[in-house]
Subunit: 578 residues, 2 copies
């Protein structure tokens, strides 16, 4: 069975199932979504208009037994950045797409009649368009429950909450995970693109799926074993992340002076202890939660968790470092349980944790709330954003737009997307990634924190400029390739330090498809993806001037290291010379 | 007495008075502001941060007895468009600057302590920095009254209202006119730049001024006579504009099918008769207003007016076509008196008529108000914008930003600036100006309506593409030059059709300075200004992709001609090949 392209046209509620063009054959995940977006979407189109497209594509290894291969990519022109966007997610969608033989799902057009929202139900050889008035105005868990009541429990569900319906630029697309919780296609406002197409949810039926075929099962099994061992033996992916989750980073980054605090005014948070991974793990153990939880089948890292309140009652899951930072250090909230409560609310609404947290941190400068006022933050989300009040529209539009409305200068965005939980002034390699990645400020695009702070892949001094552009470039190339395999980004840690890891990953790809690609091919794939994305952005109007840090970081010294962003434009623009 | 550069630094409340560098010597108005901004302002700086500058410069002929030479230019990086901006205005400031020997006033920096607003009081050889807590939160007429109570009645006053204090992107800088009414440095949110520098008002004392020196008074007088005659004998500047004001255009543009109606959904407004210039003139005559009023000393066109209500009570003045269109056809309001009441309110607050009206027209699509509901529009301005409520912040940020907050696709902006009162689909030459001018959608940058509709400078069919790029380019070059002389843009009509007009204008410049420039020099000046501005914009990130019409105009047919915007990107980008 060959994989196929499923193409849906919302303008006339039609679909077609197409052979995979030769040029797309060896691609998956981000490599495929970015290639399709770049070839089929006018870079100058309005991202919420009829000419934008959503492209879902599982990774090359998704659906196989390879560890950590369950990431699904979504590509589109982003309404937040105005550039190309790829966002990948765990959950169950990648595996089910692969097992159903869906190489990519392309959704184009906008219904003529915008009065209804639709569910797209995808089965083998068919796409149903179902009007879902009963789901309009509801949030993700309501939709998920409705779908689970209607279909086999294995059904993949991708949905938007009310912010997505309202086309807010902070809105995610939420995806069911193996335990019935939610993961997110975050960043870039992709929920708004789905909302603009009047799609409330997409379900992929698991009834007809088959195991994916492996060309050389023995070779695959052998390589898979080596790969899994590399993941398990690495101190970060095998120890730190399973023990404390991604939130292990609060103490590490705080000690490095790179934890953005109170809207990027300091690199340390005096209440880091209250919100750190160690405290979180203690709480979980004491309250009967679960410190390990995989966001997708086959995950051996298990960096997710379930987090209960003081009475042992479930509060949230998938409680990540970025969320805890964005509402903790960045908004000055030291109550981890309150942040967990906000996390659960945001999952249900389908809101980007980074964009929303940074926007609220900036909203303090606008006089909308005060640092540390978590109850007010909760209300602004639960009442204003959820109901689309004018204030909710403002916060729901992200930090860049809020900054414009209130005449603010200290606005921590690149390409209009909020900067994540690593201070670019104090972790300069990460800053290079923020300014150069075609995605807008994005920490996963080239995680230089690894080499700047975690001593993974060598060491480059985070406070100095030397070597950072090259470091970020190498990591971005590798990440673009990894994002095409369906692998979680955390495979980067063993890949950087264990010489057996990358060859094993390549062997799995070769065994899966009966091909013989090399490490060079993989690097070239990564380079091509970046260049394809960059070319799209240039045509969309995001040139060198968009590859810049917010100006205030060039003249405002960040404590405790009292560092500024000191790269010249020429040093940054050198990034694209490869 | 040589003219001098006055330079103010708000960071430390200091000033210096400098000789004019050789390269700036032959420049005035827009030529000078754009040259200074391009050479001194980092194109990548935050427009509301410490590195933006405001540059005021009277035109080359300002302060002389030349007819219609009283325009003052203001340049800066625009916080609305992100590109370079020049906005020129009538009123009394140009003449007084010139007579005081101020070639340009450059204002840089931002106070360390942002708790106070300042008045800058400029006299011969001095700048005073006066804290004005009593003016904070007040609007333009209050400020004007306070300054008139304090200084000689001839004092020039430039001020911002509350929206400017709040750095709203729809805010203007208001300028006292000869009759104590207000004119505006409109477009591009320059009021926000003044607000960011914590300047509430700038006063230029008239006590010390002297008549400007003319190198060759006889030659000047002779040329001036010819020039004035050309203005007076032209059917548009000599008849149409004096009789009906700029609002003469409502019927003309409506008949041409190019009057944007209800957020650019049609090119005709069924209630055009209610709001047209003829109706307005009848009202003025019947109610005892004044149909003719010059916005600056020496104006022979007198296209402004004072407009009274049904009881003969003063309602507003400077009641222009753009305002009447923006709230009339575009917002569906047919009550001219109500529009006049809104006009007076907007003058007092210091709001851009085009940007605010287009934003409100778009706000209908966001469900904020309904077409034709002028009372609601008034309240949104008087209560929400004036008080900076969340909804006021949204509307006060302009159409582009409102569109982003509400996920709207039909957003009529170019470079984030609202499109004025001529439909680009139906008056294509004007559309070329909107997309190519470095200013963002701006009708004055190259008024192709003249040749597309008014048969001035020949005729180019407004509904066809042929010849429009060349037409707009020629007009933009000429306008950039005219904007450097201090002349009102309406001198373009005789300049296009009366062979004596342009030579007389050049003779006046030569006689004023004792030089011998030619018509070619003037054209080269215009070309250089455009190229300087364009180069700034390219560095600021506004490349070809920003020279585009809103996408919906490419696929949505505009009644009654059922036309779309059909230029290719290549045809538009050809504009810059000169």
């Amino acid at each position: 069975m060959s994989d196929l392209i499923y193409r849906v046209n919302m303008s006339n509620l039609s679909f077609s199932i197409e052979e995979v063009p030769a040029g797309w054959m060896g691609l998956g995940g981000r490599g495929l979504t970015s290639t399709i977006v770049a070839s089929e979407v006018d870079p100058e189109c309005h991202p919420l208009g009829p000419n934008n497209k959503m492209v879902f594509a599982p990774g090359l290894l998704s659906g196989t037994s390879a560890s950590n291969s369950g990431r699904n990519s979504l590509g589109a022109k982003s309404p937040l950045t105005g550039g190309i966007k790829e966002s990948n997610v765990g959950g169950t969608s990648a595996g089910i797409f692969s097992k159903l033989g869906v190489k990519a799902l392309i959704i184009e057009g906008i219904p003529q009649d915008t009065s209804s929202f639709y569910q797209l139900h995808i089965t083998k050889d068919n796409v149903e368009f179902i009007k879902v008035p009963e789901l309009v105005g509801k949030n993700n868990y309501f939709v998920l429950d409705a779908m689970l009541a209607k279909y086999d429990k294995k059904v993949a569900v991708m949905s938007i909450g009310r912010p997505g319906e309202m086309c807010m630029l902070t809105s995610n697309i939420s995806v069911k995970d193996p335990k019935g919780k939610l993961r997110s296609h975050g960043r870039g406002g992709l929920g708004a693109v789905m909302g603009s197409k009047k799609i409330k949810c997409i379900t992929v039926d698991a009834a007809d799926y088959k195991e994916v075929t492996i060309a050389d099962p023995e070779k695959f099994k052998a390589a898979s074993k080596i790969f899994t061992k590399a993941l398990q033996e690495n101190p970060i992916s095998g120890e730190g992340l399973p023990a404390f989750g991604t939130n292990v980073l609060v103490n590490i980054i705080n000690e490095a002076g790179g934890l953005p605090t109170r809207n990027f005014r300091s690199g340390t948070f005096e209440f880091a202890e209250n919100i750190c991974g160690e405290t979180m793990a203690e709480n979980i153990k004491a309250r009967g939660g679960d410190t390990t939880h995989g966001c997708h089948a086959g995950c051996v890292i298990q960096c997710s968790q379930t987090y209960n309140d003081k009475d042992g009652k479930y509060l949230t899951s998938g409680f990540e470092y970025e969320m805890i930072w964005a509402f903790g250090a960045n908004l000055g909230i030291k109550d981890l349980d309150l942040i967990a409560k906000i996390d659960a609310l945001m999952d249900d609404l389908g809101l980007d944790a980074i964009e929303t947290g940074v926007t609220l941190g900036l909203a303090v400068d606008a006089g909308i709330l005060e640092y540390g006022d978590g109850e007010r933050a909760y209300k602004l989300i639960a009442e204003d954003i959820a109901n689309g009040t004018p204030l909710g529209r403002i916060i729901g539009s992200g930090a860049g737009n809020l900054g414009k409305l209130y005449g603010l200068v200290r606005v921590p965005v690149v390409k209009n997307q909020s900067i994540p939980a690593y201070e670019p002034r104090a972790i300069k390699g990460q800053g290079v990634t923020y300014v150069t990645t075609p995605m807008g400020a994005d920490h996963t695009a080239g995680y230089a924190v690894a080499t700047n702070i975690l001593n993974s892949g060598g060491y480059v001094d985070p406070l100095k400029k030397e070597g950072q552009v090259e470091l970020s470039r190498n990591l971005q190339i590798a990440s673009a390739a990894v994002d095409s395999t369906g692998m979680c980004i955390f495979v980067a840690f063993p890949a950087l330090d264990d010489p057996a890891c990358l060859p094993a990953l390549i062997d799995m790809i070769n065994a899966r498809f009966g091909i013989a690609i090399t490490a060079d091919d993989v690097m070239n794939l990564g380079k091509n993806i970046l260049k394809t994305e960059h070319a799209f952005n240039l045509k969309a109007g995001l040139g060198n001037a968009s590859d810049r840090i917010p100006e205030f970081m060039k003249y405002e010294k960040l404590p405790p290291h009292n560092v500024v962003w000191d790269f010249t434009n020429e040093e940054i623009d050198e990034f694209w010379n490869f």
